[in-house]
């Protein structure tokens, strides 16, 4: 990549030579470089423990690289954080936590600037609007714990969207969703890229095939592919031959359109 590429304002995310490890001698990511343009949809794939979630944490500025530089929305990740939003891995939640769908959605408005009192009327309206958008009209006062897995996932997406982020990061959004809603949700996420840059971590490659512009294969090191380049050679290099979890994938990935 040239100097001009990395400095361009059209790039939402730039990683150059990033190395990271939780302990100095055990690197999780090594010499990672890539560029994601504004309004693009990037899928981050790779085996478990390959460093996908770590990459997202670096993007959010929750972890700092040992070496290299990260630019997000033209500045450093911590400063960019208020324009970012995050949909965490869904499986980690306490399913019995006593909150309403509306309460969870409104959490998206929290920020570092301390404020107290109630959420404003405008914020409540925006939250309702966003719940409509993700297909949860009229569910605001329902308990989070009463929803199906797929519906909970949508609430978390709504929570991430209320703040109108410029960059949306999703960690394994398909991990435990109910099969019926999956297709619809995929279309919805694909539609988001008109408004924002989207990063999506997934180990279901079928999911990423549709609207994806870039695929980052993370396995300590990084391979960047434009969506149409992915073939089973690439896949088996990263996931190890016959041991693939997602058997439904083949060479036609990304060429369907």
């Amino acid at each position: 990549m040239t100097e001009q590429d990395t400095a361009s304002k059209d790039n939402a995310v730039v990683f150059s030579g990033v190395t990271f490890g939780y302990r100095p001698n055990e690197t999780v990511l090594e010499d990672i470089s890539f560029v994601a343009g504004t309004g693009t949809f990037t899928a981050v794939v790779g085996p478990n423990g390959g460093g996908k979630t770590t990459l997202i944490k670096l993007l959010l500025g929750l972890e700092k690289p040992l070496k290299g530089e990260i630019t997000v929305l033209g500045t450093d990740p911590e400063k960019a954080r208020k324009y970012l939003s995050y949909v965490p891995q869904f499986a980690k939640f306490d399913p019995a936590f006593p909150v309403s769908v509306m309460e969870v959605t409104l959490m998206g408005f929290l920020d570092r600037d301390f404020f107290f009192g109630r959420y404003s009327k405008a914020q409540r309206e925006k939250a309702l609007e966003t719940l409509d958008l993700v297909g949860l009209r009229g569910k605001g006062e329902t308990s989070f714990s009463e929803l199906s897995g797929g519906q909970r996932q949508r609430v978390l997406i709504a929570r991430a969207l209320v703040s109108e982020p410029k960059l949306l990061l999703m960690d394994e959004p398909d991990a435990s969703i109910d099969p019926l809603g999956t297709e619809e949700l995929h279309d919805f996420i694909a539609g988001l890229k008109e408004k924002m840059t989207v990063f999506l971590v997934s180990h279901d490659l079928n999911f990423v095939s549709k609207a994806v512009d870039n695929i980052l294969c993370v396995h300590k090191t990084l391979d960047v592919h434009h969506a149409h380049e992915i073939d089973s050679d690439v896949l088996s290099r990263f996931y190890g031959g016959g041991n693939m979890k997602f058997v439904c994938h083949d060479d036609s990935c990304g060429r369907e359109e």
Partner: protein, 280 residues
């Protein structure tokens, strides 16, 4: 059984005990809700038990060296804040080994306490009241402190409600929004320590942790919002501590133990009922 209510208008210590029950129910209902939601009841239990160390050392210093201002309550307060600081630091620094260190803290606190109380000159008959509580012994001064603490706690809860619920629900997301999660975690530990210190008279350090968790566990059977669980826990705590007080006054049994017996019976009853209902 009604002796308590006949004597209430006459006897100041009964009135004090009643007010203390109410205030302890408020503090443990609120703090207990967060302790249960954030799954740190083990930490709360360790904190409570380690208070014995502070109480013992204070007793030793005051009776062996004549440092009169070093009261057992002050010792408990110092031990409580110290354990909040140390346990908070350990759990924030190292996620994996935290439970072992917390257990060590728990045991060390109790052993220091027992040795110090044993070594202190003079009688130590009030050891029992620290372990099991004696709500009829609450002093006026203590009541004032408890009242001030309750007010501060209620104010903090209202001011920080959204932040604390968000952090309890999803720490990572809150962090990604720039919310200072370490601050809220440490605040909760300090408030837990203070709640435990102020509940010693009501139920004693061995059972205070049940006063934090059982009302919340019972309330969770009926309510599905954090604030509702909080209010219900306060009410449940109050009903059970007052019942404990009334019954123990009539039958001359320890009130703290009876309070916890009521709470745990109610909890078991509801849990069994819930299992049976699910089975149908």
């Amino acid at each position: 059984m009604l002796a308590f209510f006949y004597d209430l208008p006459e006897l100041v210590f009964l009135q004090n005990a009643l007010i203390a029950s109410l205030l302890c129910s408020v503090t443990s209902g609120i703090v207990g809700t967060y302790v249960v939601l954030r799954r740190i009841s083990y930490i709360a239990a360790a904190m409570a038990h380690s208070l014995l160390g502070g109480i013992g050392v204070a007793k030793y210093l005051s009776s062996a060296y004549g440092i009169k201002w070093m009261t057992p309550q002050l010792g408990a307060l110092i031990a409580g804040l110290l354990s909040a600081a140390v346990i908070g630091w350990i759990t924030l620094k190292s996620k994996e080994r935290a439970d072992t260190v917390i257990s060590a803290f728990w045991a060390a606190g109790m052993s220091i306490g027992i040795i110090a109380i044993h070594a202190a000159p003079g009688y130590s008959e009030d050891l029992m009241s620290y372990l099991f509580g004696n709500i009829l012994m609450v002093s006026n001064e203590r009541l004032w402190l408890l009242g001030i603490f309750s007010l501060i706690l209620v104010a903090l809860t209202i001011l920080f409600y959204r932040q604390t619920v968000s952090v309890s629900f999803d720490e990572e997301f809150a962090m990604s929004r720039g919310v200072k999660i370490e601050f809220y975690y440490m605040m909760l530990l300090v408030l837990t320590a203070l709640t435990v210190v102020f509940s010693i008279e009501a139920v004693g350090i061995l059972m205070v942790f049940s006063l934090l968790t059982l009302p919340v566990a019972i309330a969770s059977h009926f309510f599905n919002r954090v604030w509702k669980i909080m209010l219900a826990s306060v009410l449940i705590g109050f009903v059970s501590t007052v019942s404990g007080l009334v019954v123990s006054y009539a039958l001359n049994i320890p009130s703290g133990a009876f309070t916890i017996l009521i709470l745990s019976s109610a909890y078991f009853f509801l849990s069994i009922l819930a299992i049976l209902r699910k089975g149908k």
